[in-house]
Point group: none
Chain length 211, copies 4
DNA sequence: TATGAATGAGAGTTCATTCAT
DNA sequence: TATGAATGAACTCTCATTCAT
């Protein structure tokens, strides 16, 4: 709508434009993490960003686009951190362990970011009523990589013959659960939890030893 | 502050009173399932129930109490269905399988109910910003039973020496994940998923065979 | 309206009917005194009376009539107490003193009643915007008596030649002020205040001594 | 809780901002004067101001702040008008007269303003049920000045040895009563009333002539 | 670009009143 | 007579969005 007048669409953004957007996205993350998605009004976000409310409307087509940007940015950061760790793994079993441990590592350093992510997914409902997402802490490219590894592991005989989709969903859900538990129990030993979870996953996925 | 002569407290409720409450709770469940917790206003709920907005205020002290009732009712129903199935299991390993399969069975028949439950938990934020809950589909008494079984299984040597808390959290998260995946993929074979998940859980928890 | 079906108009009331009305009026007084007129909903009044909300609507045509009854009852009680005390006064000057002291006496024993009265007058606005009343603690018959006495005193030369209306208004306002001050300063010595006020009134009203 | 980026706190207000606030305060005064405090909803006030309801919430933190502003503004205006008139008085007796006459003068020109003031004080109840105020038409600084004058007059022997507090309360109440009578009897001669009242006050307060 | 101002819809809640039983 | 249930309007307040400057 109203072409040219607003930088919302697929336009090329200027540098200063991008800086403002990043600043606002960052303020949104902090705000959601602190007061929850439901209470993260544009007013509050603008206030935290130190800009006026109108600025947000100027740079984003609406609250929805802002939230989309938050999600995108957080997912990019996760993938950038986690993917290399998976890549280093010598085999598929190790890759699963690496995934769990890497995400836990990332959690420790980005609690707020991830709380915002969770807040958005939990608070945003599609018109059909429920979040269109069934996973939180796992970015799309990471998910793809995991599925690929699971299949490769099965082909190489390292992993047993489970349903790949179910295993992937379970893995992600377990990671999300770890995060949720940690958020509600801040003194919980995240590292130990990750180690235990890695063991659980490995045992559930690895091929039976030859008789 | 405390409202007038409304039947909110621990009063004895008449039959017709209880009927209305049940009707409203039911309308709330349907509404949340359809439009999500965030959009489930009292107006909409009342509209769906076919009553005026004031009726809800008359029968419940506020939106919070209504949501509490929804949660309570759904959890009661889950526990009533799942606990006996667990109880029938011959040993701890079977109990874990039974749990997974029972919950999946319940899901199939109560999709909307559980979507509402998820909606409430996801949409309700504490003042600190995130849901105080880290699990959804597992009612408190069921959780207690599972922890007890895990410990008993370890003592009897049927289950290996994992961290009980982590295993319980993972189990619940996996079940929640199964539900979330099914909700976003309605054609997904829930029964098959449950069977796969049960296998995953059992493999991750059972004791190693003697060498 | 709806003649015969409701006992609101000038019908003859049965004994039990009157008892209920008195009970409700009494509950209204207590409620207003405690929570203020603005917060004295019919719900709360009914609750305090131990009856259902509908009973009030049955016995009174509406909230307005109930409030009218409260005022009427309180005023009757005041007049019944104060008029004899004025009547005993030997002369007009003494009558003014007697009035002030009698009302103060009554106040001490009927704080709540009078707070309710004040609450109603202050809280009820006519459609023209302001209370139609300019005095509170002085019932109509008492007012008439005072005006009569003031005039008589002037005719007999005991009181000086002031404007009777202004003096009466000032007298009433001073009494209302005494009550208001006492209500906001419960430890205030009401008896001493009344004595001082009587002196003030007498000095302002009595005839100058002959030169 | 605290709202977004609204200009409520101790911010520097722009000129246009102040203009709007003044406009809304003015509309509030008119509305309260016309329909009474109890019926002066934000809707009505906004309607009279010719703005939307939200504007009030934008410029004031809530209804309470708006009412506070009304009171503050009216009291400031009263004090600004009355205090100089008292200051001009040659002695304490004249100061009392000046006070009464000045307030009456002010009333004549600001009927609506003062009706709004009365409406707010009468309509606003503390949790204990009654207005925390026992006087209306007398602003705090004026009250202080009066008490000071009364004491000074006693020390100089111009005024007799009454209880200062009681005299001050009575004076204020008499003024409030004059206003209330005038409001309910618009044709009443306010100037004559004030003159009579001044005489009443002076006679009640001045020292006895030496024998 | 950025802002403060304004809007209007919608939220939850309270309440006087009505009515079938 | 008395009740509990229901109504619908009105309340204050919040918020995403729009727009003139």
């Amino acid at each position: 709508m109203r072409p040219g007048s607003r930088p919302h669409g697929q336009r090329k953004h200027t540098f200063i434009e991008e800086a403002r957007r990043a600043q606002i996205v960052s303020a949104a993350i902090d705000t959601i993490a602190e007061v929850g998605f439901a209470n993260a009004s544009l007013s509050r976000i603008a206030q935290r960003a130190g800009v006026s409310k109108g600025v947000i409307s100027y740079h984003f087509s609406g609250k929805d686009e802002l939230m989309d940007q938050v999600v995108e940015q957080v997912y990019s950061a996760i993938a950038e951190f986690v993917l290399p760790r998976i890549a280093e793994a010598p085999d598929e079993c190790a890759a699963l362990r690496a995934h769990v441990l890497a995400v836990a590592d990332y959690m420790r350093g980005h609690r707020e970011q991830l709380m915002a992510l969770a807040g958005i997914f939990n608070g945003t409902r599609t018109s059909e009523g429920t979040s269109s997402r069934h996973r939180l802490m796992v970015a799309e490219p990471v998910y793809q990589e995991i599925e690929k590894r699971l299949r490769a592991g099965q082909e190489r005989g390292v992993l047993r013959d489970f349903d790949v989709r179910v295993m992937a969903v379970t893995l992600q859900a377990s990671i999300d659960g770890m995060f949720a538990y940690w958020v509600t129990h801040p003194d919980h030993d995240l590292e130990a939890h990750a180690a235990e979870l890695a063991e659980i996953i490995e045992r559930s996925a690895r091929a039976d030893p030859p008789a």
